[in-house]
Symmetry: C2
Subunit: 263 residues, 2 copies
Amino acid sequence: MPDHGAPACSLCLFHAVCGVAETGGTPAPASSMRLQPERLTVRAGDFVFRQGRPALTVYPLRAGSAKQVYESPLGWRQVTGFALPGDVLGLEPHEAPQHSTTAVALQDSVVCAVSVETLRESMAAPPFRIAALEVMRRNAERERTLLVAVGSMKAPQRMAMLLLDLAGEQARRHGRQDGTLTLAMSRSDIASLLGLTLETVSRLLSRFASVGLIAVRQRRLRIIDPTGLASIYADLGADAQRPARERDPGAEFAPGVTMCRVA
Amino acid sequence: MPDHGAPACSLCLFHAVCGVAETGGTPAPASSMRLQPERLTVRAGDFVFRQGRPALTVYPLRAGSAKQVYESPLGWRQVTGFALPGDVLGLEPHEAPQHSTTAVALQDSVVCAVSVETLRESMAAPPFRIAALEVMRRNAERERTLLVAVGSMKAPQRMAMLLLDLAGEQARRHGRQDGTLTLAMSRSDIASLLGLTLETVSRLLSRFASVGLIAVRQRRLRIIDPTGLASIYADLGADAQRPARERDPGAEFAPGVTMCRVA
DNA sequence: CGGCCATTTGATAGTCATCAACTACCGTGG
DNA sequence: CCACGGTAGTTGATGACTATCAAATGGCCG
């Protein structure tokens, strides 16, 4: 019993309009407008949807986890983000007729299936619309942050960023935040996301562990020194603190780490 | 007389609903619904808008060029794209209340100013809506492609990609396509976009030139061997053709280069 | 014409990819 | 239950690529 999927619905974008949420299994008490989305089970490695296929449905993730992979026209593949319960796979701001990425389950997972029509109808309601746009905005921000990370930060910084982000998401979902997380994705997936090789990822984790920042054993990871990781992320690692690549005044410490995951 | 701004309007998203377009200077002949957007002149280095400021207006670029810069929460700055006449600065798919990037003119430029309300109204009309969504989709695709490039391609590939993209955009605007382009952006801007240093960019351009792929003199550049560049982009450079990083069957040659620019 | 900035070019070192074993884990089947 | 095979992950050695440091050159604008 690794991850329980309990808080998935409470964090789901559709929570307020969904009949399944929270109430356990009991059918929607009233309001005929509430969603009764179909639920699907996908096994580790299965596709939730594939890039280029018609985008007729979005998939709120109920339990498990997934990665999103983008394949460029020339055939380069790269992981663009990880999704956790509560995220909505396939949700995009520009109503593309086809999925722009492929979503792959990282473990046996459960998703709801909401048709784009239903989504569109929901979007008509201002409160829902606001929330949805907010989610999409956050995703865009994440992607941009990832771009900057990959484009101008060094390997240890990227790694620290990811760990802090994952921990943050973990905490946002379950209340507890003892810094324990389970990496559902392989080293290779992490490497792809961060623009590194799997060896480098492995080495970084080992190094972080040897310095007491974290503890890792396979895919079980525990953050021991969040502040230390934040320092590395902020590049206060090697050179005490002076250089500061090309940041300017203000904004010294970032409050929360807001990064990579996409869906 | 470096760049003329003539075809800007004909490629503008708002072309079909704008009263200024094409007709030269004459006021809108009929239809009161046609836009009469205010025109602004910005000088090289000026901001069109800044990240974080309220997004009340979008700015179709009439003449000149601009770069979009994103600053991450920690203060890292990175160029995320270049804009040419016809592009719409500040157009985003998720109606963010604030601009998510900063737009800086690369040369003295002219933009139109269209309020978001006007934009919203225009979006109500299906044909315009379709077109706008299409533009935003392309931008998203570009950003993703850039991420992949920065995340997993080597410097020469990235450089070749950019050149091909710029040439493609050039051709898409003016009919002619003798491969001549003027780089309005500095080496440093290019470096930022591609996740490199300005020295590396300079060296790459020199190397490309010495091999007869291009001709460069300051910011004047001419592509001599597009096919050669495409080969480099596709990584058929060093190793004849075998390795192929991690692409799989199919999709060997990408038709057009569709990349980096964002707005 | 002089100063300043953009760019080029060279020398050098660091980071990270690559190649190569080696070890740990997981599920299968004997 | 334990041996086995395969995949995931670790670790080491090496070198390529590119960042970094340092001048030198070329243009452009007062």
